[in-house]
């Protein structure tokens, strides 16, 4: 850990003193740090794509360009479930139900316009996921929305517990058959299955109904697995059952017209203390829906801080990249968004988006 810090600090120091050209400082009226804390009159110093420092009365080194922003500064949002950068059929090889070592991190086109629309909506990282079909369709990956950066090419082992993942003309055709097939995989584990079994790889449990969640909880307990459950809009109604499992929940994409019962389910997750983030299922869904979904939950009673954490720091933890993104903190990637007002107000506009310290959207000077 110490070595890592030193390794991080050394190039930063060099960069600050020698190369102000790769540096920028942003001074904003209000900064949301992503961990629930708010800082007024905040300055964030960015050096070589990383956050070199953050503070209320930070002195900016001479020669470093300073952006004065009359509004809010936040870290970029993280969309936790999607198929950006390739056609959705590319996100699963449907030749067989079990292909646990297939990597979606290898299929996406980093120059796809999907990523441009994501970063335009303030999304700087995305969790790409195999299509939830079959039993073990592959490995998830975390990518940046700019810079061609594959942040993590093995984020989760995807395991499918939803009936939607079954096909009628191949084993398994049933939920019981799927459970049996998964048990067989974990009894003779290899590759990604083995890494998950040993605790080195979290799982993404794909589900759709509350009863699927109960099967996930039982299986995860039986096999000692961690990770997150995605796809169950009413998961919050059984938050008390989920809580002891320590599994997180990825809320399925919320859009205009969302059922209030589903929104209140998110509130229940927060009240029970179940960690949660927001899925998007882009590019089918508009990237703007990510923030909209969180805002609609706030309207139903979700604490705004919990909502924002779910879009940033908590999402980063769920994606396994909290050491790189999700908070405004020294040493983390400079993925930043400048807003005209409160980020959870739908009237607030995005004025600039930075990924790895590089402005990728917006024209704010």
């Amino acid at each position: 850990m110490l070595a890592a810090l030193l390794a991080l600090a050394a190039p930063l120091a060099v960069a600050t003193s020698q190369s102000p050209a790769g540096s920028v400082a942003i001074r904003a009226d209000v900064a949301w740090l992503g961990d629930g804390r708010t800082l007024e009159n905040a300055t964030v110093l960015v050096v070589d794509g990383r956050i070199a420092d953050v503070g209320a009365d930070l002195s900016v080194p001479a020669g470093v360009e300073t952006i004065r922003h009359r509004g809010y500064l936040t870290v970029g949002m993280i969309a936790l479930h999607g198929y950006d950068g390739a056609s959705s059929r590319e996100f699963r090889d449907d030749s067989r139900p079990v292909l646990p070592d297939a990597k979606v991190g290898l299929v996406f086109d980093p120059t796809s316009p999907d990523f441009a629309s994501a970063r335009g909506a303030g999304i700087t990282s995305l969790l790409l996921t195999p299509t939830p079909e079959g039993v073990a369709p592959g490995l998830t990956a975390v990518v940046k929305s700019a810079g061609r950066n594959l942040l993590k090419d093995e984020a989760h082992l995807s395991l499918v517990f939803t009936a939607n993942g079954l096909v009628a003309n191949r084993e398994p055709t049933s939920l019981s058959g799927a459970v049996q097939m998964l048990d067989r995989l974990f009894e003779k584990p290899s590759g990604a299955i083995d890494r998950a079994r040993r605790g080195g790889l979290p799982c993404l449990f794909e589900a759709s109904e509350r009863t699927d969640v109960l099967r996930v909880l039982e299986f995860a307990k039986r096999r000692g697995l961690g990770g997150a459950i995605h796809g169950v809009a009413l998961a919050g109604e059984i938050a008390d059952e989920i809580k002891p499992s320590k599994l997180a929940v990825i809320v399925p994409a919320i859009s205009v017209g969302a059922d209030r019962r589903e929104l209140r389910s998110v509130v229940s997750l927060a009240k029970a203390g179940v960690p949660f983030g927001f899925g998007l299922n882009s590019p089918a869904n508009n990237p703007a829906d990510l923030r909209l979904g969180a805002a609609l939950c706030v309207r139903e009673g979700l604490d705004p801080k919990a909502a924002w954490n779910g879009l940033t720091s908590e999402a980063a933890r769920i994606a396994g990249v909290a050491d790189r993104v999700g908070r405004i903190e020294r040493g983390l990637d400079a993925d930043l968004v400048l807003w005209s007002g409160d980020p959870l107000d739908l009237g607030s506009r995005i004025e600039a988006v930075f990924v790895d310290g590089v402005r990728v959207d917006g024209d704010k000077r």
Binding site: A163, A168, N169, P172, S176, Q180, T211, G236, S268
Partner: protein, 424 residues
């Protein structure tokens, strides 16, 4: 979350035409005192006027009324009659096609419990009709579809927590249902539906092959296969086999299979003690001596409109009474029907129209299925120490003019339709 649950209850209350579920935030067992003009315990002892008391999840007292001691309080329920909660030995509250694995004909190791949805509204329907315990089987698309589960129809939001007996039966089917759709109508076979069996013969052959393969695996563990343990347990009689057979040729096929296992040398070393019961045995009345000879109980399907059931079997009002006279244990069932006139309570009424005495009709929906399913130590009769699963009636039980007005399961008032009954 609690408000959400209440909201959901409100919705289902509307859907069920004004019935009110006594589903509190977290309903808990509390002591209940039920005063009834008739207490039908199912043990042979009935009371013209009596009371049943509960403590925790169990029945704590059953007694005749002494008169004058009937104080009203919020722990007192009054009704015309009280019976044990009804038991359906063929309930089929499953998830449809995703509850049965069709990639092979024989899937003896798969548990239907892994596929059930505790949040399905079907459970509420059962509770409203007085059914408190059910056997749920995998759908009969396979020859042997897997393991059925006996569970309560209400309680915790988890199948495991409601389960009375997991792996309660090994379930399979004779007749035409397992082969339906297996014969390619044209073109060449493309997937596992184009396969054996395509006939009754083929279905029976799969049954026999499964048991012979299991007997081989019992002698030589290197020949074990997925499901062989369950099939061996069935041969030993440790796991009851529930076979669906509607028509008489399918009932006799099942019985001949059992007798072959009891007779043939391949099944020595304790593998010759299978316990079968036949589900949906509509035509059991045609050759009842076979059932007597093989000591095989039956579960009857709901009485069919027009007299004909699936597989073109014929079933008349007096089937249950005919079988009773032969000494064959008979349970009645809804066979998973969601038609209001095919609910379990009415089946008992129909059997009474066919001549079955009330006590036997009561047993056919309580104690007989409890014994068939191996849960008679917990449910099926009103006795001190048994589960407090009680069904309260506003008139003579099973009569079309009577209604279930309240249902207690594990000591918790899970359905309270008294206001609805008063309004009638």
């Amino acid at each position: 979350m609690k408000n959400l649950v209440l909201g959901l209850t409100a919705v289902s209350t509307l859907a069920s035409a004004g019935t009110a579920f006594a589903r509190d935030d977290k309903p808990e067992a509390r002591p209940w005192v039920i005063w009834a003009d008739r207490v039908y315990t199912g043990t042979g002892t009935n009371y013209e006027a009596g009371m049943v008391g509960t403590a925790g999840s169990k029945i704590s007292i059953v007694a005749p009324s002494r008169g004058g001691d009937e104080h009203d309080s919020d722990q007192v329920l009054r009704c015309f009659a009280v019976t044990s909660g009804l038991i359906d030995a063929s309930a089929r509250i499953h998830n449809g096609p995703t509850s049965v694995e069709q990639s092979k004909e024989v899937q003896a190791s798969l548990r239907v419990a892994d596929t059930l949805d505790p949040f399905s509204i079907e459970w509420d329907r059962q509770v409203r009709n007085g059914v408190t315990t059910v056997l749920v089987n995998p759908p009969d698309s396979n020859v042997i579809g897997g393991l059925g589960v006996v569970l309560k129809t209400t309680g915790a939001d988890s199948i495991a927590a409601r389960t009375l007996k997991s792996d309660a039966v090994l379930r399979g089917s004779m007749g035409t249902e397992p082969s339906r759709g297996n014969h390619p109508a044209f073109r060449t076979p493309t997937d596992f539906y184009s396969r054996r069996p395509t006939t009754r013969m083929g279905v029976e052959w799969e049954w026999r092959k499964a048991f012979y393969d299991a007997a081989t695996a019992a002698r030589d563990t290197s020949r074990a296969f997925p499901g062989s343990d369950q099939l061996i347990a069935a041969l030993k009689g440790d796991l009851t086999v529930s076979i669906q057979a509607w028509a008489t040729q399918d009932i006799r096929t099942a019985i001949f299979l059992k007798e072959e296992i009891e007779r043939e040398a391949e099944f020595e070393n304790g593998l010759d003690k299978p316990r079968f019961f036949i589900d949906a045995a509509a035509e059991a009345w045609k050759e009842p001596q076979l059932l007597v000879r093989a000591r095989v109980p039956v579960v009857l399907p709901p009485f069919p409109v027009g007299g004909r059931t699936r597989d073109n079997a014929f079933m008349a009002w007096d089937v249950a009474e005919k079988l009773r006279k032969e000494g064959i244990p008979v349970a009645l069932s809804s066979h998973g029907s969601t038609e209001p006139e095919e609910c379990l309570a009415l089946q008992a009424g129909y059997a009474m129209q066919g001549g079955l005495p009330f006590e036997n009709a009561l047993a056919a929906v309580t104690s007989v299925p409890a014994r068939l399913l191996g849960v008679a130590d917990r449910v099926g009769t009103i006795e001190v120490g048994k589960d407090a699963d009680l069904c309260l009636w506003n008139g003579a039980p099973f009569e079309p003019s009577s209604r279930v007005i309240a249902v207690i399961v594990d000591g918790v008032l899970r359905y309270d339709g008294r206001e609805k009954a008063d309004a009638k």
